[in-house]
């Protein structure tokens, strides 16, 4: 397969997006005169002249129906785009476009008076509610009750590389070089709206500088680039989304409000768990974060209830942000558990042991593996948990209050169907292995090569790997911590079938394509990874500033294909979890409807100086119920529970309980 990405850049035009400055209403007019008069500007696209999308498509994805109508659904929506000979001309052209609007009242924030609805499903297809036993009765009788509300803020995925697209329309086929976690997903979502076959939209993503979920699906900028390319045949069109534009156009995590009620016996054994979530989505495209789904599986209790309630607002569309659901939900659950431990006077680890279920409380199925308690115990050993004073605010070191905290972590094991891989024999005992999936910096190229070499029984140096190209065939996104297991299963299937068909010493040029085989046992089990997160937090006695000198995660995550890559993934997760615990916070201005902390100076992610001694360990294991490699997937689990461990440690240090993220100095200043 020829490699194509290099050629696209030459002779490119630059595209710049023009965004709405109202949250709801209609575009009355796009005045492009001044922009078109600007030297270097080639054209201005708007709803009057953009190619038509979505013909014959039922319920097209409105996020991708760019420049198709006058309707403005959120502040920051693409309402025009400027094509020019240079980036400077395009940007200035965009500043010169004058858009006039008929503005309507918009609802851009939710509060006590907002109308809420229970959605049909939460992401990706979980029930929005669950109800076992009689929660209210159990809570009424429970001897110990924790009844608190926990909040997580809007959070924006901020990979270092913002989104970017280069698009070329050659009259028949559209080629996109796209910063994407799933080239095939991008091709298959754009193609039908463009009236093209998937095969005629070729998306490559050779190098990607991170995504955190925001590059999991095509967003409006990619479609705008495709449209612009169609209007400028045979010239590539380049679009680089700015950091500020990312805060409106490439997804984010909803704010969540979790009302938790735990009912327990005095020894901490749970009798009732009630998790009521309020969160938001855009009115025009639903994304319901699955905030309470992990609550259904974590701990045993006779009586359990979860519900998600959604506010539908005139806002940018939320989307996948690493560990969607688990991250905010487990923050709430694991801080509530810490509060219960304090209320019962039980050690937080012992409390979790006492509530360990034997089967999945939600489905009644056995877990393929559930080794949470081992993770907690191994972590306790590594973290010197035995030395920990029971009481809060009982340890100081110089000007710092010192505390430690723990939280459980979990992440569902997912194996995505619909992955396909191809094995071709080459000269001299070499094999070409193709899988359309992408390496977004996690090292999946290395892992795929190892898996292919293992499955073929050859040295990795004998495997030429081709990835990151939608024309290779169906491949799911690098997301949901599912990549290694899902693509790997297809690679293993293709390798096994190849050997079955062509033997151990095939002639060059023989080829086998296969999809992953289903594992029947998967249906009968609950498939989850588990972990335990430990944090030491120091809180400055005067200013209240926080430091996290030690962070440890111990995980049960299936077989580890490559320890170097795995450790780096766990570290990344723990650090992202720390960042959500201490820093990340998008402020949406309720008067305007857009996020105003829209750069990396005002939207803080952890800096190097915030990261102390971070450690990750894992239990040796294999899980063949999930995948033929025995892997379960490990990208996101490091994030889950980390913010709770930090909040719990901050409580232990100071005696001050913080129930809203991020945990910041103002809560502790004295």
């Amino acid at each position: 397969m020829e490699h194509r990405e290099g050629a696209l850049g030459k002779d490119a035009l630059t595209l710049w997006l023009v965004q709405s400055t109202i949250a709801r209403g209609r575009v009355l007019d796009v005045d492009a005169e001044a922009a078109l008069a600007h030297p270097g500007v080639v054209s201005v696209l708007d709803h009057t002249n953009a190619p038509i999308l979505g013909q014959g498509v039922d319920e097209p994805d409105l996020e991708l129906m760019v420049l198709q109508s006058t309707e403005v659904r959120f502040r920051g929506q693409v309402v025009a785009a400027v094509l020019a000979e240079s980036a400077e001309a395009a940007r200035e052209g965009a500043a010169l476009v004058r858009v006039s609007y008929a503005e309507q009242d918009a609802e851009v924030e939710f509060g006590p008076d907002t109308t809420l609805e229970i959605p049909d499903k939460v992401n990706p297809d979980y029930d929005a509610t669950s109800d076992d036993g009689d929660v209210d009765a159990a809570l009424a009788q429970a001897e110990v009750v924790v009844d608190q509300t926990y909040r997580t803020p809007y959070e924006h995925n901020n990979p270092l590389e913002p989104h970017a697209t280069t698009a070329l329309w050659d009259g028949e086929r559209l080629r996109l070089v796209e910063a994407s976690q799933g080239p095939y997903a991008v091709a298959s979502s754009l193609a039908p709206l463009l009236g093209l076959d998937v095969a005629d939209v070729v998306v490559t993503s050779p190098y990607v500088g991170g995504g955190f979920g925001s590059k999991g699906m095509a967003h409006a900028p990619a479609m705008t680039a495709a449209l612009a390319a169609i209007t400028a045949p045979r010239r590539p069109v380049r679009l680089a989304v700015t950091r500020q534009q990312m805060f409106a156009l490439t997804g984010y995590r909803t704010r969540t409000v979790s009302h938790f009620r735990l009912g327990a016996r005095p020894d901490g054994v749970l009798v009732a768990i009630d998790h009521d979530v309020v969160e938001q989505t855009s009115r025009w495209k639903e994304f319901a974060e699955q905030t309470a789904t992990s609550t259904r599986t974590m701990y045993a209790a006779e009586n359990r209830r979860t519900v998600h309630r959604l506010a539908r607002l005139d806002v940018a569309v939320p989307s996948f942000m690493r560990a969607p659901g688990e991250m905010p939900g487990m923050f709430a659950h694991e801080v509530a558990m810490d509060e219960l431990a304090v209320a019962c006077g039980v050690d937080p680890i012992v409390l979790r042991e006492r509530n360990e279920p034997t089967v999945d409380p939600e489905t009644g199925k056995p877990f393929s593996r559930r080794r949470l308690v081992e993770c907690l115990q191994r972590g306790a050993e590594l973290f010197d948990w035995a030395e920990r004073p029971d009481d809060a605010r009982s340890r100081a070191d110089g000007v710092w209050w010192v505390g430690t905290g723990v939280a459980s972590s979990t992440y569902p094991a997912k194996v995505m169907p619909a992955n396909q891989a191809t094995v071709t024999s080459c000269e001299a005992g070499e094999y070409r292995v193709e899988v359309g999936a992408v390496d977004i910096g996690t090292g999946s190229r290395t892992a795929m090569k190892q898996i292919a070499a293992d499955a073929l029984g050859v040295d990795p140096s004998c495997v030429q790997l081709e990835m990151a190209d939608s024309s290779i065939g169906p491949a799911t996104v690098a997301g949901g911590s599912s990549g290694t297991a899902s693509w790997g299963a297809a690679v293993v299937a293709a390798a096994q079938l190849f050997r079955a068909d062509h033997g151990d010493s095939p002639d060059p040029g023989l080829q086998t394509t296969a999809s992953a085989a289903d594992i029947p046992a998967a249906e009968d089990h609950a498939l989850h990874s588990f972990g335990a997160i430990f944090a030491e937090v120091r809180v400055h006695r005067w200013t209240g500033e926080l430091r996290v000198p030690r962070l440890l995660g111990v995980f049960s995550a299936g077989r580890i294909v490559n320890p170097v890559l795995a450790r780096s993934q766990f570290y990344g997760g723990l650090i992202m979890g720390l960042s959500s615990g201490l820093h990340e916070d998008s402020y949406r201005d309720p008067r305007f409807g857009h996020v105003v902390t829209q750069d990396l100076a005002s939207y803080h992610v952890a800096a190097h100086a915030d990261i102390g001694d971070v450690r990750a360990e894992w239990l040796d294991e294999e899980d063949f119920v999930v995948s033929p490699m025995g892997t379960r997937g490990l990208g996101e689990i490091g994030i889950v529970g980390t913010a709770a461990a930090i909040a719990n440690a901050a409580f232990h240090a100071t005696g001050v309980r913080v129930r809203s993220l991020p945990v910041t100095a103002d809560s502790f200043v004295s």
């Binding site: 500033e545 305007f592 100076a601 800096a607 103002d666 200043v669």
Partner: protein, 329 residues
Amino acid sequence: MRPFAYHRPADPAEAVALVAADPAASFLGGGTNLVDHLKLGVTRPGTLVDVTGLGLDTVEQTDASLRIGTNVRNSDLAAHPALRAGWPAVSRALLAGASGQIRNQATTGGNLLQRTRCVYFQDVTTPCNKRESGSGCSAIGGYGRYNAVLGASGQCVATHPSDLAVALAALDAVVVVLGPDGERRIPATELHRLPEEHPEHDTTLRHGELITAVELPSSPLAARSTYQKARDRASYAFALVSAAVGLDLDEDGTVRDVRIAWGGVAHKPWRATRAEDALRGEQPTEDAVRAAVDIELTGANTDDQSAYKLPMVRATTTYAVHRLLEGSR
């Protein structure tokens, strides 16, 4: 593209003449603030006069003072042995700001004249009196975590972001300025102004006035000074609040003289003279410092989002004094 003229004169007087003659001209130092603003459309100068070719990049020490050329880079200045020995608060303030890369690029004058980080000032789709006189102030009733709590007006509640400026205000620095009519010497406390009815003006400089140097007088206070900054991450964040404190004690431990200036609380570095007055002649106990801070804070204005700043100023100032008493800086 929006073309602009670019000059890189070698002579300060020429630089002044170029800017003074053209209302749409700006000086350009390291560019770490101005270039961002060009990209965001916050400012659109027709002419940039690059001052980094003017020399003015040395640090000279006399018995009585340290004279810092405007083009001395923040990282070089922070590491200068004379500054570290005689004015540790200034070195600490510089090191508490921005990142290593930005400090390598940023100049002394540019640092003092960096503009507010108010998120609305930087977002041209929202009203902002400082960016566009008379358009309104979006920060009032909006995102307020970094808003001023002292000396704000109904027109603007922004804070000045420079850490360096706070240390200079505390230690009686003088800013040396060259204008069309010759040289002026401005006390650092009078370089920046309160917003009042004209938030579009950050400083008392007139158009075309070039900062050429900063002078720091030597004193026991300056030698026993420190800078304490509270922020939302361990590095690379603007101050929530900060305190520069210089302390000179009598033999019996009472305060002979003291300097206190705060960052993150006002449109300018806030010299806390009333707190200084209250402390002079007192034992600098934690209670005494807190009480002195409270005197200065009478008249502070806060809302839900900025209320934390008052206890934090108290804490930061107290901690700075504590460090000085402990002998650390």
